[in-house]
Amino acid sequence: MIQLDSVSVEKNGSPILTDVSLCFGQGGITALIGPNGAGKSTLLHTIAGLTSPVRGQVMVEGLDMVRARPEQRARHVALLAQNESVTARLTVRDLVEFGRWPHHRGRPREIDRVKVAEALGTFDLDGLADRRLDALSGGQRQRAFVAMAWAQETSWLLLDEPLSALDPRHARDIMDRLHALTRPGAGQRSVVIVLHDLSVAARYADRIVALKDGRLVTSGPRVLAMTGAMLSDLFGTRLAVERVAGRDVVLPA
């Protein structure tokens, strides 16, 4: 369970998040939506314990993320930040193996190699495992980074705009995989993802957390919380949620 109690974050004296309280349980996909500058990335970093709030408490599975040591945090939450780029000449396998760092601290064991192989298989990267990252397409590279976060084997996976540089096919490919992996069953994980494409959120999210100007607008099950009125108010433009071919899509009203 992720629980935020009256969390406020400031940067250089300016409020970024104000009095945000949230609580959601494990499983499924939670989409973080809101206009630019709403505080979505800051919220993810705060949940991951990488940004310290000036007030409030952040608990993940009972661990106080503000006070926890870096390696403790990394065994609870995996965070994939925006625009990941690596200058080192790594192969896909090297990168995914770094996802096991919180477990092996630089000395991989057999179990780590098994988990890396599993993550490569899960994200269909077996054939690319020995290719260098700089020889991959944007979509393949992003998949490799998601696999790295996945290999971290945390209950919670926080993804900050992982689809921003992807074409619709690659975006759908990643979301389909995440959707399947967050369904109930053995090894089920929980994903919190920042999304700008509201139709992707409408299609894949189980829960919605909406932020505006650093404040929580709404949070809850997607079918209840994601309404045309809420989205219109959130983004300051008229939007509607329509049912097209059996799926919800967000369209200009």
Partner: protein
Amino acid sequence: MADRRLLILGLVLAAVSALFLLWNLRAPVGFILGLRLTKLAALCAVGTAIGTATVLFQTIAANRLLTPGIVGFDALFVFIQTMLVLGLGGLGYAALPSLAQFGVETLTLVAAAMALFGVLLRRGADDILRMILTGVILGVLLRGLAGLAQRLLDPSEFAIVQQASFATFGAVDRTQLAIAGPILILSFAAALRLARLLDLAALGRATALPLGLDFDRVVFVTLGLVALLVAVSTALVGPITFLGLLAASLAHAILPTWRHDRLLPGAALIGATILVSGQFVFERLLGLQSTLTVIVEFLGGLLFLLLVLRRPRP
């Protein structure tokens, strides 16, 4: 593959060291061998220190074109020499106990570097570019101040500053070497202990932090080691700006790995090999003195230009 190449690099260094020691060895053998051993130890220590420091610095700065010299170490060293000569006069400078001079130079360089790193990175290690640019500007300022102060010197004092401003292995002080050697060995060992953390740090702050790395701490410790390695080696023989770039670039080319437990010894061996082989060629074969650093700077400068021009555009 990297292990085998490291072994070959070690054998090459052993071979050129043997040549340096034994080539044209004449009586009194013990005396000459002693002199050559001192010089060899200094060459190896400085080559190791500069090679190691450059790999560390490039990893933290996430840039393969940078050397620690770019943040003004060399300029500060020349500034200290100029101020000492200006303050004490030529005779006073010459009469300075070598150990005291070595201590003052080392401590000043380390203190200045740590002040620069500490002040500019106090809000987190995410502004390394600003730290480097400030170092570059400070370097320009110090060079300007040193140039201004040098105009106040008489020609003989100016010649002393000029001589001290270039690295020379001709007259290495054994006492200084006895102090610098263990410091450099311990710093190198500490760098090797950091190797696994540096592998992760090389992924960048945004990736390494969520993986549980105390990134800011690793950056501070690493920059502290860089400061110590560069300060001690500079105080020992003088500044060599581009040796590190040569050693680190060759290490990355010869050892195609991202693992720092291979790259650091590789750069150390290459740095030492460049200095020992260069000194052997110039001193033993060509009979020249104090030309080595000029050639190293020339080749390093050419490599720098080549690397800049070869860099793919984003």
